[in-house]
Amino acid sequence: MKKQVLQNKPVIAVGPFHPLQEEMEFYQLTVDGEIVTDIDVRISYNHRGIEGISETLQYDQVPFLVSRICGICSASHPLAYVQAVEELAGVKLPERALYVRTIINELERIHSHMLWVGLAGHFIGYDTVFMWAWRYREPVLDLLEEMTGNRNNYGNVKVGGCREDIPDETVPKILRDLDLIEKKTDMLTKAVLDDPVIHARLKGVGTLTNEDAVRYAVTGPTARGSGVAIDVRRDDPYAAYDDLDWNVIVREEGDVFAKAVVRLLEIMESVKMLRQAVRKLPKGPVATEVKSIPPGEAVGRAEAPRGETFHYVRSDGGNRPIRHKVRAPSYVNVPSFKASCIGQHIADVTITLAAVDPCYSCTERLAVVDGHDKIIHDWRNLLKLSREKTSRIREEL
């Protein structure tokens, strides 16, 4: 059964309403009145052929490539990759390396979730939330810059450990900034969880049922918000996660509100984990030497803020991978819009798409067509509809 879906529209779309809608993808929604009846996406704008480039690089050059797959899963991709290679090489890492990796990754989770909270706020018309959430990302970015030299692409992992150690003088700064983040997140969480307008706006919206979450094999907060209790850090532990005391946050409802709650509470869990990791940080080297990679195949995975990153590496004993498969979490999360968007009101489309936290906001090129293939809404309009709905709810309450 071939699907009759509109091919690329001749519309070179009107640009994004706001640069927050970043990545180029072309979404097409078909509507019946105000309800979405079908949705499709044309990707490819972001395809850079990374797996092909990987085969031309040596094993220790690949982490620099894969940390640029995505700006905010930039610690998880190289981590999953080096873990695959370390599995191939059968090497055991020094304890301190595991802890440093954990610290960097949890800091990334915090600033990524904060980014999402800001974005979600913006989409429903709470621009103060946007400004605040992004303001409180800054201390985290400054910490990361102090430790790794860059706010975003850390370049911190290598096969065999970490490239850089955390200087002792940074440790008290981390603890101090964690206190600040905890306080502000707590405030933001309470504001979100207690606001009746946000409840009315996000509850029951964009619901992904538990059943669909399994059929679409989603991962991360998208899965955990729909009652699928999976988390690579617990299920297939890596780095120092099985040494720390923490909880997997799960909600059953599957709507946008549930996903927001999962992300906010995960920030608090990350703060908890970081405090433990920083206090337990063992002494010693942060890397071990790996001379060669034997032939074979291996798998590495890490829990990125968006979900599970999965890397598969095959070696023939040489110094380049002969196959390197990369799977970002958004690859399985984004198609689930088929289940969560269909049947929704068009005013809820922006927030439903954003709830998956696509890496990053694949909602720039978006067109809504009616049954006669006529484009009736673009991204700007949809954002406006979303914010108008929030205003209406506010007035009613």
């Binding site: 599995e87 538990n210 059929r215 999976i230 297939d236 798998v299 999965f310 196959r323 498969k325 399985v332």
Partner: protein, 166 residues
Amino acid sequence: MSDFLRLKERRIMNHQQLIAELAGIKDRLTGIDETSNKRLYLNCKAEDSFAVNKFIFEHVGARFLIATGIDAEDCFEVLYHFSYDQTGCVITVKARIDDRQKPSIESISTFLPAAEWIEREIHDLFGIEIINHPDMRRLILSDDWPEGVHPLRKRVPAEAAQEKEK
């Protein structure tokens, strides 16, 4: 509705039980490799991959991760990766396609929508035909990318020579 969706009712297995459970599909496999108790590789022929994948997804209850297409020079391979989250084991079904001239494999997205995109991508990058796929449009290569050019294929000398002659 098939019973695989009632996740909570499915029994949770430990690693030994999981291995024992694979007896149900043993006649379709050409080999089993266990590199550790968290990494399991099940080898099979392309014709059997549909049945094996269905077993792993519905009967064992593992979560689909992704599929990897590989040009292994003497054959093509499609690896289907699953995660059995209860033990953290990654189960990889390695399907071998011997026909290099017209490689093909049956789609699993008929029972697993999560596989739709990756099957389209494997077709784009390797030229492997995906039989019975509900929606075989181009996924990740650009609109102006030439038909029949599959960028992740290895330049196997004999085939490269043939291409030159064209």
